[in-house]
Symmetry: D2
Subunit: 339 residues, 4 copies
């Protein structure tokens, strides 16, 4: 199948290229970007020396598209493609939130194609694989929501976890994209850890939307405190999620519940120790450890992933596999780069 | 005043040497270590080339001692010194917990000198400066407790913060000391973030001891969930603390409360943005940002420090200054190494 | 083809596992190690969660073996396997030097199987692909020699480069293996760069052996000054090689000579700018840039590789492909992990 | 003495502020910058919270100035100050090269104040302390030249080292300054090492100017091949310099020559092992190790420093101390931040 990448020069776009160039069924036939149009991929990115494609200002002839543009720009480009019958995985935020008003409130822009929101599917395959399989347009989840939702889903949907939820997340710097700023300068981020966007991170409504969609009846909607942090590494994201257990449980029961929930999910591995972000470097895995803190009755639910892998491009390819009727793991089975 | 360092070869011992070598009133006259006895400090640590002292197996002639030995060994050495009338700041855990049984339960050893516990003072100057000034023996706080207690104290002691407290802390690797292990190997820690000791970290009883000592009457004891994490940096510690606000407040009121509480505390700076660990690299500062999350009523209380500075050796020198009647900031006023 | 890894717990052994687990023709059927025998690979290395093999103390039933043991131990194990007709790629130094006396002088041990030296082939495919294709025993090159020889070979074998050669090399820390020491501790290596083994690095005789084997007639043997350095990164190796040009040349001629020499070599890419180690992270590429410094007539010849990739496990798989009549690139065509 | 910093927002400017704020005799009374004028230093740089100065667009009332502006801008501002009788240490390249034409050729700009070149002194105190003591205007050396010249001077000026000199240097990223670019982005530099500016680095003419000024009579001028590299660390610079020994020598003789040359130079420490950049983190030291490679007769001369310390701001303060008749080490005696 011929596929194209829209916005190849960003961090997710580059990772998509890396994955698609060795995918057995997807053939990367065209790529676009606003900033380097006219140059060859192998000249802009010497490490992709096998890719002789020229970066185009605009593309549209492939059958399937991945868009890694920023929000708004992405919907502007993807909208017409979807209407022409192309299938699209959009890695921006444009098709993640089902509620247009919510999108416009958090992103402070008018949605370019609100009429497509109804058919768009939130591309978290562990929750929505049926819908994704028949979707034409998938809104690929953000990196934080992927980790947070996967860590919380079993305990929350079962009614074990209370509605006050804290997500304390630690991300590598590639989550901030390639735009050079004083804050993402090597000498600023090296040997540095800090919280940011403490009550306004745009990934928050994604987490609440998805958790509320799977909340047990009669339970209050989730009340989320989300604190993202930057840590000095390129890739990797760890979500440490807290919620009080509403019923008696034990570490063993909790592990069993999680293992059952994610049985047959090839990209979620439930482990019995705190997972390390490095275990997922460069691949599409999420490692999840649910922990029951006996003295306080707190659930401490951990998920580790590569923010560019399961948190972005890897998950996009997983979605594309499902949308195209291919095996879910195709092109995604490499082990992590370790050490 | 003649001072000695017991256990100079560990990470806190080395930092003590760095600070004491440029302290205007303390003269470093003797140092000991078990592993490198007989060699000169400048040969073992070429970067301390100005220090011609020989590392001794045992010392005792100075007037004032800093011990950076591991727990138990430290009390064994410090006990006799205290009894001879020497003043001691012990950086190990041996004299931090007032309750001998609690110590022996968490550390799984018999305390070598329980008779000294009563006179030992918990060396957090922002809470106990009077007692420290007259103490002969100070138990220097752990790195995590220093950050967590400083972040929580104003909101907790005033009754604003509820008794369910989460401390999600991120530490640089020097907190693990110099002992080489597979986990502290460069290639293991680089590009890696993870939680550890999820329900058994020994700094936990320190935090609860100190918070309970300042809890408002009629309030329940603190119920603490403490999750320490390692992040890939050498120095730096960030504590992100969560507790529900029990009363209506605002961001402005909260900041004001914190500023009032730490007025005239030279090593605590209350800031109005999330602090970065790098702001404190190599010095004795703690940067604190109290945040009120309006939508959920959560307090998110942040403290950043250098785990070897305010979290260990810097604070030890601050304590020593107070114990010796010197200005609290003496020898500690350098700006952070930034970038 | 059934393959086994001897010494899976070292850094090269782990990388071999990563590569072999996704190789289309090699099936990893057994693995051994001295330190973790009896445990499952997926328990020792959670990131290899798909590998259910148990680590054995000893193995021998596969058809083809990769040994990642230290020198001497490796030959002790590989010798009998070769004699039983198994094919072996040995990643240790035991079968790299054709001259037994030279080996024993540099490594200060008696060679366990000197009778096998004659049939062993130095596994640098860009120089010896014919011999490798028919070899039963391949001594896989060291990480530094791979980069240095590839950088120097075209200019040296053509007679352009003089016999005084300097190799100033910079390596990531994984080259030092997994053994924890004070020097490889995260807090020692982070923010640190230095030279080591300044006149006794054991990779030196490999470089001279191979360069002398391709030296032009009448030319003096190479006189090598080799300065290895450690830089604070996990993977990656850059060799900056210096030699005076003996004839007039130009940047264009030099590039052309290099491109011609490496035409049809899939894992060497000659580039027209200084290569970055990160371009090869996690794969088997070597990026080479020959530079002619006009004002001084110096050749400055650069090669960048992943020390665990082309410098170790990647090259071992490349050798195995050739030895087994498989396409040279099989299982090795992934793009680098970038960023 | 009242001192001012012109260009405080750059990397050298920030380091100057750090040093001057704790200097016993210099009082920082005014600071300027083009980008943040009107804001307080403590607001722009929270880690300098003790500094209440407002950043001015222009300053001129102090007695002594440090300029950390880029070249050309720096001379434009410093020229008038010098003419008014202020003393100036200029950290830009404007007053380093005595030959105006050479400056204009390498920097491709017209020199704003060529009439001041004659009185300007090259501020390397280990070579020019007498001249510096009476200078009104000092051109503070570049980071690479400082290390290279200090490493080479004893062997070169004595006639031991031949005139073909290679300087293979490795620098931390702060050498590139604070300007955010794609290349200095954290995710670009992390886990990356590479050469750059391979035959056009502007520090080259400084090195040749200074070496030629101390060359033995009858000896040819130096012929320099200079290869700067970036390595993934914030601070630190290692110069590995190569030159053939023209006479028989030994490791012991070489060390002795170096020790004699730098006797009584407080900021140069000659060591007997390869120095590590981290030994100088945050201070004004240069660690030098001269190595004689017996098999080839090569001298391998190493110097490690902090590029922002001895390579920039530390050396500027050292120069200022000398210019003001203060002890050379005043305000500069702190030990390195280690680990």
């Amino acid at each position: 199948m011929k596929v194209g990448i829209i916005g190849i020069t960003g961090s997710a776009g580059g990772e998509l290229a890396r994955l698609l160039l060795s995918h057995p069924e997807f053939e990367l036939t065209e790529v676009s970007a606003r900033s380097e149009a006219g140059r060859k991929v192998c000249d802009v990115f010497p490490y992709l020396h096998r890719c002789q494609l020229t970066i185009e200002p605009e593309i549209g002839s492939a059958d399937f598209f991945f868009s890694a543009l920023p929000h708004k720009s992405s919907a502007e480009i993807c909208g017409p493609l979807v209407k022409k019958g192309k299938r699209v995985v959009d890695l921006s935020a444009d098709f993640r939130l089902r509620d247009r008003a919510l999108f416009e409130q958090w992103y402070q822009v008018e949605h370019p194609h609100p009429e497509l929101l109804e058919q768009a599917v939130y591309g978290l395959p562990e929750l929505h694989c049926q819908q994704i399989a028949s979707a034409k347009l998938v809104g690929n989840p953000g990196c934080y929501p992927t980790a947070a939702i996967l860590a919380l889903a079993p305990a929350w949907s079962s009614g074990l976890a209370g509605h006050n939820v804290i997500v304390d997340a630690k991300s590598g710097v590639s989550g901030a994209g390639w735009t050079p700023t004083r804050d993402t300068h090597y000498i600023s981020m090296n040997e540095n850890t800090y919280a940011y966007s403490m009550d306004a991170h745009r990934h928050e409504p994604e987490i609440t939307q998805e958790l509320n969609a799977i909340k047990p009846q009669l339970r209050k909607p989730v009340e989320l405190t989300f604190t993202p942090h930057l840590v000095p590494m390129t890739r990797g994201l760890l979500a440490t999620c807290y919620s009080r257990a509403l019923e008696a449980t034990s570490q063993d029961q909790l592990l069993e519940m999680y293992r059952a929930y994610y049985a047959n999910k090839p990209f979620v591995q439930v482990v019995d120790q705190p997972p390390r972000t490095k275990w997922a470097a460069g691949n599409n895995m999420a490692y999840i450890y649910p922990h029951y803190h006996e003295r306080t009755g707190q659930l401490v639910l951990l998920a580790a992933e590569d923010n560019l892998g399961k948190g972005a491009a890897g998950q996009a390819v997983q979605n594309a596999n499902l949308m195209c009727g291919l095996p879910e793991e195709m092109g995604l089975s490499m082990s992590a780069l370790f050490p």
